[in-house]
């Protein structure tokens, strides 16, 4: 029997959403102050409106009286799903007021793309955008990647926090409790922020010859988009703007760091480091990166797009790394990427769909699930080949020996199949509007796996339904289905429950 949610359930959800609004209001003050200092008056006024909306929501939520004070699993899931719908709505205010979007939904699309660390964009005339607004786009990556939920957890009492943590698509706790895990995640981010921004700004200043302020601006924004595997860039030509192998190398390192699970970061931090290579997840990602890299390189070599080995190696390597880590940076134009047919298209598509590691900012099916899916299939084949009474013992190594149960295999296969369904959804809608199969599939996988690479389908002129479809794909893909399905279930039980 379906139980209709009580008024207190809504109050608990409202209180939590208020807390997250408060965190986002504080984050919104950063670009506001930036705009004031830079004397960008129009952007400053738009940030004030946004901060005001978040602040009002936060204060209003404090008036909600909660009797139970107990955040249950379903509440947490609904909070996470709603956070990823509502924060982009208010976060889109400065984007829309900047005048760089043709439709209000285009601004919402970009805010969703930013928060979900996808990187697809509908912005127009990016190269004349106010630096403070540009910074806000990239800060959205940081908020979404590190997790506004994580930020809220770091500040909250931790009551029922586990549910929020898992709802955001994170797989494992690194430290004994969620609050300390959340703080560790922010510590890792802060460490990378200092090193990453310094490295990128130094390259931009010393090698590329940018002015100091501009070097810092590029370093900061590319760090947010790279480490959080986002894909927005301060200029319209993405990483191709810099025309620098060193800049690409530093960006590549940040993309890899962003696609690594925080468990792996913890192991690198505290050791033992050797055990990292025993992990199923590490082995899987190394294998899939090598495989997709080879596939793409062979495809590019066959088409003859690049006449030299260095060109093929550098461009192919960066694009595949960007696709596999779910970042979406590119050094070639979307019209050129669209020409990467055959094996190169296959390699890029598979790399995007597989994604990075679990509990990282990357999207896609994720390596641990890929590894476990292969284990499931291999296990079933083994079962068929062995004598009927034989019981093959199944275990795998992931930060210790773990038992591989049929239930685990089933759960992993289900999520993997859901991703396939998600990719097909976007492909079908794009096909319906007359786009080709290859470009429809590429763009849909890019949206659903939170990548952000584009072959030109994502454009301000594309149909509204397709924009909505991609936005939904970004939402579902980032939260890995469970939280969104829980929200649907909550609404359904509210309507039909007793």
């Amino acid at each position: 029997m379906l139980l209709r949610p009580e008024a207190d359930d809504f109050r608990i959800i409202g209180r939590q959403l208020g807390l997250i609004s408060g965190v986002t209001a504080i984050a919104g003050l950063i670009p506001f102050v930036w705009a004031l200092i830079a004397r960008e008056w129009k952007p400053a006024s738009s940030f004030l409106v946004m901060v005001g909306v978040f602040a009002m929501a936060a204060v209003a939520a404090r008036y909600i009286r909660v009797e139970r004070h107990r955040l249950e699993w379903r509440h947490g899931m609904v909070v996470v799903a709603l956070t990823w719908l509502l924060v982009p709505a208010a976060g889109a205010i400065p984007l829309w007021l900047s005048g760089h979007y043709g439709q209000p939904f285009d601004a919402y699309f970009d805010a969703m793309s930013g928060l979900s660390t996808t990187g697809l964009t509908l912005i127009q005339d990016l190269d004349h955008l106010a630096p403070s607004v540009n910074f806000w786009r990239h800060l959205l990556h940081f908020l979404g990647g590190q997790g506004i939920i994580i930020a809220a957890l770091s500040l909250s009492s931790g009551l029922g926090a586990t549910t929020l943590y898992y709802g955001e698509g994170r797989e494992e706790r690194i430290l004994p409790n969620v609050r300390s895990t959340a703080r560790f995640i922010w510590l890792v981010a802060a460490y990378h922020l200092v090193i990453g921004v310094a490295a990128l700004a130094a390259v931009a200043f010393f090698t590329l010859g940018f002015r100091p302020w501009r070097a810092l601006f590029h370093g900061l924004n590319i760090f947010f988009a790279g480490f959080d595997t986002g894909g927005f860039s301060p200029q319209s030509t993405s990483i191709g703007y810099y025309h620098s192998a060193i800049f690409e190398a530093v960006t590549g390192l940040l993309m890899v760091a962003g696609a690594m699970s925080f468990g792996l970061h913890f192991a690198l931090w505290r050791g033992p480091r050797r055990a990292i290579f025993k992990n199923l997840e590490t082995k899987t990602i190394l294998a899939t990166v090598t495989f997709t890299m080879l596939l793409t390189m062979l495809g590019l070599a066959a088409t003859g797009i690049y006449s030299s080995f260095t060109g093929l190696g550098r461009q192919g390597f960066f694009q595949v790394l960007s696709a596999h880590t779910g970042t979406g940076f590119t050094t070639v134009s979307s019209s050129e990427l669209a020409l990467w047919g055959g094996l190169a298209f296959g390699g890029m598509g598979i790399a995007m769909a597989l994604g990075g590691m679990a509990s990282s900012t990357a999207g896609g099916v994720k390596s641990l699930r890929v590894g476990l899916t292969i284990r499931t299939i291999a296990g079933q084949v083994k079962q068929v080949l062995l004598p009927e009474r034989a019981m093959p013992s199944e275990s795998y190594y992931q930060n210790g020996v773990r038992r591989f149960t049929p239930q685990l295999g089933q759960a992993v296969m289900t999520v993997s199949l859901l991703y396939v369904a998600l990719f097909l959804l976007g492909t079908g809608v794009a096909l319906g509007y007359g786009f080709g199969l290859q470009e429809s599939l590429f763009e849909s996988v890019s949206a659903g796996a939170s990548v952000g690479l584009s072959v030109g389908v994502t454009d301000p002129t594309m149909p509204l339904l397709l924009k909505v479809t991609y936005a939904v794909q970004m939402w579902l893909g980032r939260l890995e289905f469970v939280a969104v399905f829980s929200l649907f279930g909550f609404i359904y039980s509210w309507i039909r429950g007793k």
């Binding site: 008056w41 004030l48 005001g52």
Partner: protein, 175 residues
């Protein structure tokens, strides 16, 4: 009749500026760049972004030829498309001075850049860019005005003040 047609054709050819004949859209270079590889082309547009003065004596910047190049959205431009740009490399020995390029505050200089188009240059790891040999400045940079919205300021201020008052009232109620 045939002589008359020849005269008219000749006059038409003379009336068309030589530069306009050879100017290539940036979208042509990004979409079908291989066809122009290692050939001299002229592109016309706005210099935007940064002036990167490198140690090898070259200057790198970006040239956009989209509709916003002449009329940015902040100015009188209308919503049209995304930006379309290519990287341009200018040898410092050519002696061009760049005081301002396009961005938030400025519509950058409009130039006609003539040079060799490098499509996937093997010497630069497959990068595509225009190696400029001659630059003609067609329009000077233009300062863009920042029109602040008093309505947005008012709404924002009301929301912040209201939130602050409600918060203070909550705190006083609790004590």
């Amino acid at each position: 009749m045939r002589r008359l047609m020849l005269v008219v054709t000749s006059l038409l050819l003379l009336a068309t500026p030589a530069q306009a004949q050879s100017t290539i859209p940036v979208s042509e270079l990004t979409g079908a760049g291989a066809e122009y590889d290692s050939t001299e082309v002229t592109v016309e547009g706005e210099l935007v972004g940064d002036i990167g003065e490198r140690r090898d004596g070259t200057v790198w910047t970006q040239l956009n030829d989209d509709s916003y190049a002449r009329d940015p959205l902040r100015d009188s431009g209308t919503h049209d498309e995304g930006n379309t740009g290519i990287g341009v490399r200018i040898d410092g020995s050519l002696g061009y001075q760049f005081e301002q390029v396009g961005g938030y505050r400025w519509r950058g200089p409009i130039v006609a850049a003539t040079g060799i188009w490098h499509h996937h240059d093997p010497e630069r790891g497959g990068e595509s860019y225009l190696e400029v040999t001659a630059l003609e400045f067609l329009e000077a940079p233009r300062l863009l005005t920042d029109s602040s919205s008093s309505f947005a300021w008012a709404i924002g201020a009301i929301l912040i003040v209201a939130a602050a008052l409600l918060y203070l009232r909550q705190r006083s109620d609790r004590t």
